[in-house]
């Protein structure tokens, strides 16, 4: 009986693995068939083979490397700056009542405004410069990380802080070790959300006008009716944010190393 149940369970497991492996190829295959069968307009819905050719052209032309590095630079720098600021201010507002009274109301008002809504004013302020794009990503990342840190710091076990006080822990170490590590599990959750936010804001930043970048390339291709290139760009963006999210999840698992 129990062996039967066990077999059935592994059989179900294998089936689910098989289906999982087939999911993407099946989708691509069906898409190829539909696109070639002329049920749909092949200019608007190019088959995957056309998309693949467009991607290869993109790579061979040398533009891909430039676009990829421009986008990666914006996302990474924006993420790092926004995250650093968010963590530092989160520790301060979470730990010091006066700093919190001063800043938290302001942050709570600014935080819910979607970062994309700042595109027009950012163009007025920064034109089409890199600074404006960084600003948008930083802005998007900052509030999420700030809030996660602020909450995490307030939830740090008071007992830990008292124990550290009794042992003569200097003020600085109290912030940089006890409070920061005590809040780390919350901060890591905030950082994970910030990874996807940094990609959302990247899209807005590049659509607003740029001279290189994956989303910029998508927009140019759209204006030239190069649908294959548009979809190739989408695939590249999807792959990029997928890899970023997965690697961050792997890092996050190790960040709270004592668990």
């Amino acid at each position: 009986m129990s062996t039967g149940g066990h077999n059935r369970a592994t059989a179900a497991g294998r089936l689910s693995m098989l289906l999982g492996a087939l999911s993407v190829p099946a989708f691509v295959g069906v898409w190829e068939l539909i696109a070639r069968s002329r049920i749909v307009n092949a200019v608007l819905f190019p088959p995957p083979s056309t998309v693949a050719v467009a991607i290869l052209d993109w790579i061979h032309s040398g533009q891909f490397v430039g676009d990829l590095s421009a986008s990666l630079f914006r996302v990474t720098m924006g993420f790092l700056i926004g995250t650093t600021g968010g963590i530092m201010l989160g520790v301060l507002t979470g730990r010091f009542r006066l700093v919190s009274s001063l800043l938290s109301p302001l942050f709570h008002i600014l935080r819910p405004i979607p970062p994309i809504a700042f595109v027009p004013i950012v163009i007025l302020w920064f034109g089409l410069s890199e600074a404006g794009k960084l600003f948008l990503v930083v802005w998007g990342v900052f509030f999420t990380v700030w809030l996660a840190t602020h909450i995490g710091v307030q939830k740090v076990d008071r007992g830990l802080i008292r124990a550290a006080l009794m042992l003569g822990t200097p003020r600085r170490q109290m912030l940089t070790e006890i409070v920061l590590l005590g809040a780390l599990p919350y901060i890591v959750v905030g950082l994970r959300t910030a990874v996807s936010i940094s990609f959302y804001t990247l899209v807005a930043a590049e659509l607003a006008g740029a001279f290189a970048g994956i989303v910029y390339r998508i927009e140019i291709a759209q204006q030239n009716m190069q649908t294959g290139q548009v979809m190739g760009g989408l695939a590249a963006l999807g792959l990029l944010s997928f890899v970023a999210d997965r690697s961050f999840a792997a890092i996050a698992e190790r960040a709270v190393w004592w668990r």
């Binding site: 550290a164 006080l165 042992l167 003569g168 822990t169």
Partner: protein
């Protein structure tokens, strides 16, 4: 082994013998901890709670004093005030001649929960205090290793706290507090969360440790047996707001063991304590009902 060499501190403590005025005043000049007319008040949404009400007490160097009383009577608050974690509303606390305004490294504290730093190994938890006080890493780790041997956790030196049992964690917490060589060790129901067997072992460990560390200990507990077994003096507190009802000397010889549980002097003392506590406990309960 070490416990065997212990000389009873009371009533034949050498500190007592050199006392020029044998007057048992609670403000004897050589006391290491002096609490005078201490009141502590907490602000709560519907007014104020008096947690400690005009308490005075003195603890002599090397003494082991227990605080016993019903739940909520202010034992933790009083201990926290001695630790500098709670500010007096009225009155004064001095430890080693200096008023207590903030935590000081010459005063160690062990809480009911171990509160170990979860991101540090046993060794680094214990080394935290010496490092914080500016000792070199090597020196701090040497201190930690000595203490780890003393608490018998050598095999767990590099383990993280969550992999240890409650009793082991509490031993680490005690070692961590001792690493700064405090003159005063405050303990707030340190064994309250442990099962009876572990608790008995921990009590023996503490008695043994105490002979080596030469610190003054103030120990909060609910357990009257524990208080008598460990202490030179037991202070019994009233139901909240806390005041000290009775100051009982435990004139039982040391080293002590469970043999004292049948000693008539012990039984008489315990009966005294239990009567007082029962009356107070009932008062505390009635206060809650109201």
């Amino acid at each position: 082994m070490v416990a065997m060499m212990h000389t009873p501190l009371r009533p034949t403590s050498p500190l007592r013998l050199v006392d020029a005025q044998p007057e048992p005043s609670s403000t004897a000049p050589e006391a290491i901890i002096r609490v005078e007319d201490l009141s502590i008040v907490f602000d709560v949404p519907r007014g104020a709670v008096i947690a400690v009400d005009r308490v005075s007490l003195a603890v002599m160097p090397g003494e082991f004093v227990s605080l016993v009383g019903p739940s909520g009577c202010g034992k933790s608050t009083l201990l926290n005030a001695m630790a500098g974690l709670e500010r007096p509303f009225e009155g004064e606390i001095t430890v080693a001649g200096k008023p207590m305004l903030a935590p000081r490294p010459d005063i160690g504290m062990v809480f009911q929960q171990p509160h170990l730093f979860p991101w540090k190994s046993v060794r680094r938890n214990i080394a935290h205090g010496p490092r914080a006080l500016g000792k070199s890493k090597t020196e701090a780790l040497r201190i930690a290793d000595d203490l780890i041997d003393m608490i018998g956790l050598t095999k767990f030196a590099s383990a993280y706290p969550h992999t240890l049992s409650g009793g082991m964690q509490q031993r680490v917490a005690i070692a961590r507090a001792l690493a700064n060589q405090p003159r005063v060790l405050l303990m707030d129901e340190p064994f309250g969360a442990l099962d009876a067997q572990t608790r008995a072992v921990m009590q023996d460990n503490l008695l043994e440790l105490r002979d080596r560390i030469n610190a003054t200990i103030v120990f909060v507990t609910h357990d009257i047996d524990e208080a008598i077994l460990l202490s030179d003096r037991v202070l019994i507190m009233s139901a909240g707001p806390g005041r000290i009802l009775r100051d009982l000397s435990v004139a039982l010889p040391r080293p002590r063991s469970s043999a004292i549980l049948t000693d008539p002097a012990y039984l008489a003392l315990k009966r005294d304590c239990l009567d007082l506590i029962r009356t107070e406990g009932r008062k505390a309960f009635e206060q809650m009902e109201r």
